[in-house]
């Protein structure tokens, strides 16, 4: 018995590098951030002032609100598009379905700086489309400004849609042809099948996908940074400028905002996990 124990200690030693990385670069920074958020600007006095500042400041509340609005809006739009698109996918032959999935998979990698750049050359001030539309004389686009809220939402929706399609598509695979046949044998119409069976089965995965997209947009930094720099007031850009810019560093305040952002995101992820558990149970 002693021999077996000795062997286990030797195995435990092999786990040390992993434990060091997790403490040094995952748990450590999180703890440091949480701790730092409870200090005053001087870094000495323990206080909850940073949180009070945030909730009293119209500026930071606006940043939180903007982030929430853009995340919810882009997530809802993408989920709706994805629900229809994934259903449409299932109407094609397996070969075409694979092609379509490949296109979504490939475009899902087109995000961040390169994506923003693409939009700039297409729809920016001197963008191809901007110039083209001006020439044709479409007034609709005359007021369009890519470096604004609308532009930001447009780009966010672009990178959310492929992700949403890839997350929702598999749950359509879970709806078996046999269920539809059983439902119609029992006298149900197509409509009543979707109402009573299809949608309830899909719902957890739709809600779960929504929460992932929401978190994805809340945490997005590169896209916004490239598109609007610090011109637009959203949470991730504010945190960045508080902890890593050249002017006005306020790491304690940045930490407090970081804690709020992380809480929101972990909450969304936790919610998704619960939803996926239901999906797995239903589709067993």
């Amino acid at each position: 018995m002693r021999k077996i124990k000795k062997q286990k200690i030797y195995l435990l030693a092999l786990l040390l590098p992993f434990i060091m990385f997790v403490i040094g670069f995952e748990i450590g920074p999180l703890v440091a951030m949480i701790k730092n958020s409870f200090y005053a600007d001087d870094g000495i006095q323990v206080t909850i002032d940073q949180y009070l500042t945030i909730f009293k400041s119209e500026f930071y509340l606006q940043a939180i609100k903007n982030s929430l609005v853009i995340s919810v809006f882009s997530a809802i739009t993408s989920v709706i598009v994805a629900v229809i698109a994934a259903y449409s996918f299932t109407k094609f032959s397996q070969k075409i379905q694979n092609r379509l999935l490949m296109v979504t998979n490939m475009t899902s990698n087109f995000e961040g700086i390169p994506l923003s750049f693409s939009y700039i050359i297409l729809l920016g001030n001197n963008g191809l489309f901007t110039l083209l539309f001006a020439k044709i004389g479409w007034d609709l686009f005359a007021d369009f400004n890519l470096y604004s809220w609308t532009g930001l939402i447009l780009v966010y929706i672009y990178f959310q849609i492929p992700l949403a399609v890839m997350l929702i598509y598999p749950s359509y695979q879970g709806i078996r042809q046999q269920w539809k046949e059983a439902s119609s044998l029992l006298g149900g119409s197509t409509f009543s099948f979707w109402l009573r069976i299809g949608v309830p089965v899909l719902l957890p995965s739709i809600v779960g996908t929504f929460s992932i997209l929401f978190a994805n947009a809340m945490g997005a930094y590169a896209t916004a940074y490239a598109l609007v720099g610090s011109n637009y007031n959203i949470l991730s850009l504010q945190i960045a400028s508080l902890v890593a810019s050249d002017v006005a560093l306020k790491p304690q305040l940045g930490s407090a905002l970081g804690v709020l952002l992380a809480t929101t995101m972990i909450g969304a992820m936790w919610f998704n996990e619960r939803m996926m558990r239901r999906v797995r149970r239903d589709l067993r």
Partner: protein, 337 residues
């Protein structure tokens, strides 16, 4: 003399005893079976012998040597797993040769080929596990364990994943190989019929304890308690008070009586038994008749409880459903528990 000795082995997981003070011994060359329902501890005991589980208390000896603290690779035991655990990246030859390679054995090729011959897999040397049928995979797993010439062969429900026909033929073959090599074997199964056909000795386990051990016929004809009676032979088990009332006697002792279904006889009402001294009679009617191949199984309802009666299915009189009958119960076949 005893070749495998297990002394007071006990093991628990979070406050629950999986193995409760188990002691048993095996002779060299014996084919022993650990029989019981899932969760009775039989697989845990087997894995403890292999060294894949630690025991909390007790000792395990093989050939006089205490192996309790040895690692699996030092124990010189071979094992066949329920799902075979063949190495998917190696072909049949390499799977069987694996252990010999680890031991750096010379003339490995001839040993492996002999083994392939023994388990009847000639021509499949180059095949990979996923190209083989379940029965063939099972043979590879057996050959892989046997080629090491282990002191004890451990078989963890090795046949349970196969369909009935292949199962029967592999049972025979396994037994043949075991006799040929005269290898001490411990077999784990939940199937009492399989245990009966294969074993020299059976250990019936329940709730982490060995409840009865003996030869197949000992276990079958004289179960020591209700659990074994019900588990082993589809015994009719009847409350003793009820039974006394049915046969109008006071000479029986014990709490329950167990009677095998094939010792009972049915006669039409009115027909007298030839041997009233040796038999009791119980009145009843045939509630159901079902046929399981060569056996006719009657379910006979009496005043107090129902009895199963098994008949070999040969030509002759057959009782219809609803027929009034008398059950003849041979007195000496009643086992008091």
């Amino acid at each position: 003399m005893s070749y495998v000795t297990i002394e007071q082995v006990t093991k628990g997981y979070d406050n629950q005893l999986v193995l409760n003070n188990i002691s048993l011994t095996l002779k060299k060359g014996e084919f022993a079976t650990l029989l019981g329902q899932s969760g009775c501890g039989k697989s845990t005991l087997l894995r403890s012998i292999a060294g894949l589980e630690d025991v909390d208390v007790g000792r395990i000896l093989i050939d006089g040597k205490d192996i309790t603290d040895l690692s699996p690779r030092q124990r010189e035991v071979g094992m066949v797993f329920q799902s075979y655990a063949l190495f998917p990246n190696m072909n049949v030859f390499d799977n069987i040769a694996y252990g010999l390679k680890m031991k750096k054995v010379k003339n490995l090729k001839s040993k492996v080929n002999n083994m392939i011959d023994m388990v009847d897999l000639i021509g499949k040397e180059e095949s990979y596990p996923h190209q083989l049928s379940g029965g063939q995979q099972q043979r590879v797993a057996l050959a892989r364990a046997l080629v090491m010439e282990p002191k004890v062969l451990l078989l963890d429900e090795p046949l349970s994943a196969l369909d009935a026909k292949i199962r029967k033929s592999l049972q025979k073959e396994l037994k043949r190989i075991q006799k040929e090599l005269d290898i001490t074997t411990i077999f784990v199964t939940h199937d009492q019929e399989e245990a009966m056909t294969m074993s020299d000795r059976i250990f019936v386990m329940n709730k982490g304890q060995v409840v009865q051990s003996g030869s197949p016929s000992e276990i079958y004809t004289s179960p020591v308690n209700t659990f074994v009676a019900k588990f082993i032979g589809n015994y009719n088990v009847c409350n003793m008070e009820v039974f006394r009332k049915l046969v109008r006697t006071t000479e029986l002792k014990g709490n329950e009586v167990a009677i095998r279904p094939e010792v009972l006889q049915l006669v039409s009402v009115g027909e007298d038994s030839l041997d009233l001294q040796g038999n009791w009679e119980i009145k009843g009617f045939v509630k159901d008749v079902s046929m399981a191949g060569n056996v006719l199984r009657y379910e006979v309802e009496t005043e107090e409880c129902a009895f199963h009666v098994d008949y070999l299915h040969h030509r002759g009189e057959m009782f219809e459903q609803g027929a009034r009958v008398q059950i003849l119960v041979p007195k000496k076949e009643c086992i008091m528990l």
